[in-house]
Subunit: 360 residues, 2 copies
């Protein structure tokens, strides 16, 4: 297959407070009263009854709150799947993720592992999944990751941080309700929005780009700039537009790839547990050499919103830690190839990566 | 359902000469050697072996050439379905449309009518289809209509020109190969491209617009302007970008609607058989009052490409003909409501419509 046959999310519902339609969506797809819907919900909502009371729980359905303090792990997926299999005789009617990128990725991975044997770590890579997932729905409550539309679910395993990339990974249904993003703290709003912005820069500046991905990436880039630099948008419009930026930014990866910021950020996550959004920003802030225009724009937005990035996180690392981070970053070969071309190994050295990390 | 749960094309393959991958796509979905693939192919390709020789015909598969000189008709759909049912004992494995909007719409309608009883005219309207269609694939060979991504198939019936709008209408697979659009004559390239441009103006200026549709519509509008007014694009880039404009333009209708140009153009098609693309242009050229900025841009593009629109087509019409056209146009209530608001009936009169038609 020369060009990829890209799987799109087959159903999308967009609208402020469209969250109230979730019950109506799920009803006809419930197999029977013993086959529950499992709601994986970011635990920030645990004390927000204005959201939890609207989750349409019936019969044996279960809400499981998920902490997004750490990046999602393969062991966490395995534990959730084991718990669901033990608690219920029947296969669930579906898995619904309500949260940010962590919860989106867990919902996708759990739905895959309910129908595929073994551990989540067995499927980290490209096209290793054999069976269709359980019906799964994504309801993002923060905008930027693109996890709602992508064909991957990024997990940290015992050996690597890598996605389960497969045609069975994308959600069967996505509900885009910008009102769900109302409670996000400012720093997190910025870091996650910048995940989208950085996606777009890396995709648009990459070697893999084609016109399909370019058109989505350009629109997402433009929406990010509008949201983070315009004085004219009201709060609701900012929420609406950032949700669409995330969607288009995710689509822009269809025929493209991310690049250096994501590769180095994966290293930070793997070794230091730094979360993806802030990690991307910490790296991108030092990539003027590779993405001059994008980094300039990024610094402008960072200053405008008075964001202070963590610093000095790599100053006391052991040689082993630095080598491990570098190994993880360099293992993401498609990202480097997209950023620097087929001869990327001639263009980047371990020393340069160490120097970049040491600035952070 | 307050917000529509929009069905997206679940698989899309984009790339120059991706047409060569069609065989590989179809192979695993063939039910058996007696269940043929039916290729509906625009008859402009009849004498172009460089295309026809690449259609992956096997076993009992059949190529049916379709004239796109006229807009697609419900009777034509019924005749094709009857012919296929007579010729084959088994239900086809799939229907593949290769052509412009006419062929796209016929492929969608035939695939629906193979599994739904009665005549195509029984399903003109909204959500009247009960059964899933046969697997159907769209391969556009001209860009602009958005038929490759829409949930409608517009047909002229004995009583009306109206789409079969349903969740079963969208293609299961779309192949976007910009190289397929290489042989389009200039006038047709312009008229069909302007179908997209006019979509976007009507969607972006309409009352139904939300942020989802806006983001797609803005991108498609921008791509149209680039393709039709930039000196910097090479031929291939123009083809690539116009194909993406059509795609995004079609998506922009998801939560929106077209408007006055489409309503009046439907009247022209129904009564005078004027094709959709050129009809839209003939109408839009006179809609300064409603879409001032869009019409200005349109005239600029028209002049730049030295396009001469037909004129005087309504000068010798009988009162009956004029009334019939006006009736068809006014029957498209959602289009008027989108253009003029809920009180649209207070804002447009039959006399104004007659006056507009008389300019054409």
């Amino acid at each position: 297959m020369k060009f990829r046959n890209f799987p799109m999310v087959p159903r999308v519902l967009f609208g402020r407070n469209s969250f109230d339609q979730v019950g109506e969506l799920l009803m006809p797809l419930r197999r029977n009263s013993e086959a529950p819907y499992i709601f994986l919900v970011d635990d920030v909502f645990q004390d927000r009854p204005e959201v939890t009371s609207r989750i349409p729980v019936m019969f044996e359905d279960r809400i499981i709150f998920i902490s997004a303090d750490e990046e999602p792990k393969t062991a966490q997926v395995d534990a959730l799947v084991a718990m669901i299999k033990t608690a219920f005789d029947e296969m669930p009617s579906g898995v619904i993720g309500i949260g940010g990128g962590t919860v989106m990725d867990l919902a996708k991975a759990v739905s895959l592992l309910l129908t595929n044997p073994g551990s989540a770590q067995d499927y980290q890579g490209w096209d290793l999944v054999k069976n269709k997932a359980v019906y799964h729905v994504g309801i993002p409550s923060i905008s930027g990751t693109g996890a709602e539309v992508s064909r991957t679910t990024v997990l940290t395993g015992p050996e690597k941080k890598l996605g389960i990339n497969s045609d069975f990974t994308p959600f069967d249904q996505v509900v885009l309700d910008p009102a769900m993003t109302g409670g996000v703290p400012k720093d997190q709003w910025f870091f996650t929005g910048m995940d989208c912005f950085i996606h777009c820069v890396e995709s648009l500046e990459g070697y893999f780009l084609n016109t399909f991905s370019q058109s989505y990436g350009e629109k997402a880039y433009e929406l990010c700039c509008e949201v983070f630099t315009s004085d004219e948008l009201g709060l609701e419009e900012r929420q609406n537009k950032l949700m669409m930026a995330s969607w288009h930014g995710g689509m822009s990866i269809a025929y493209s790839q991310v690049g250096i910021a994501h590769a180095l950020s994966y290293g930070l996550s793997y070794e230091l547990g730094i979360r993806h959004g802030v990690g991307n920003c910490m790296v991108f802030d030092h990539l003027e050499k590779y993405y001059p225009k994008g980094v300039r724009k990024f610094k402008e937005m960072k200053d405008r919103h008075e964001i202070v990035l963590p610093s000095g996180v790599c100053s006391d690392l052991t040689t082993e830690q630095m080598d491990s981070m570098t190994r993880v970053a360099l293992s993401l070969e498609p990202l480097w190839e997209n950023a620097l071309g087929a001869d990327w190994k001639q263009k980047i050295t371990e020393k340069e990566i160490h120097e970049l990390y040491q600035k952070m």
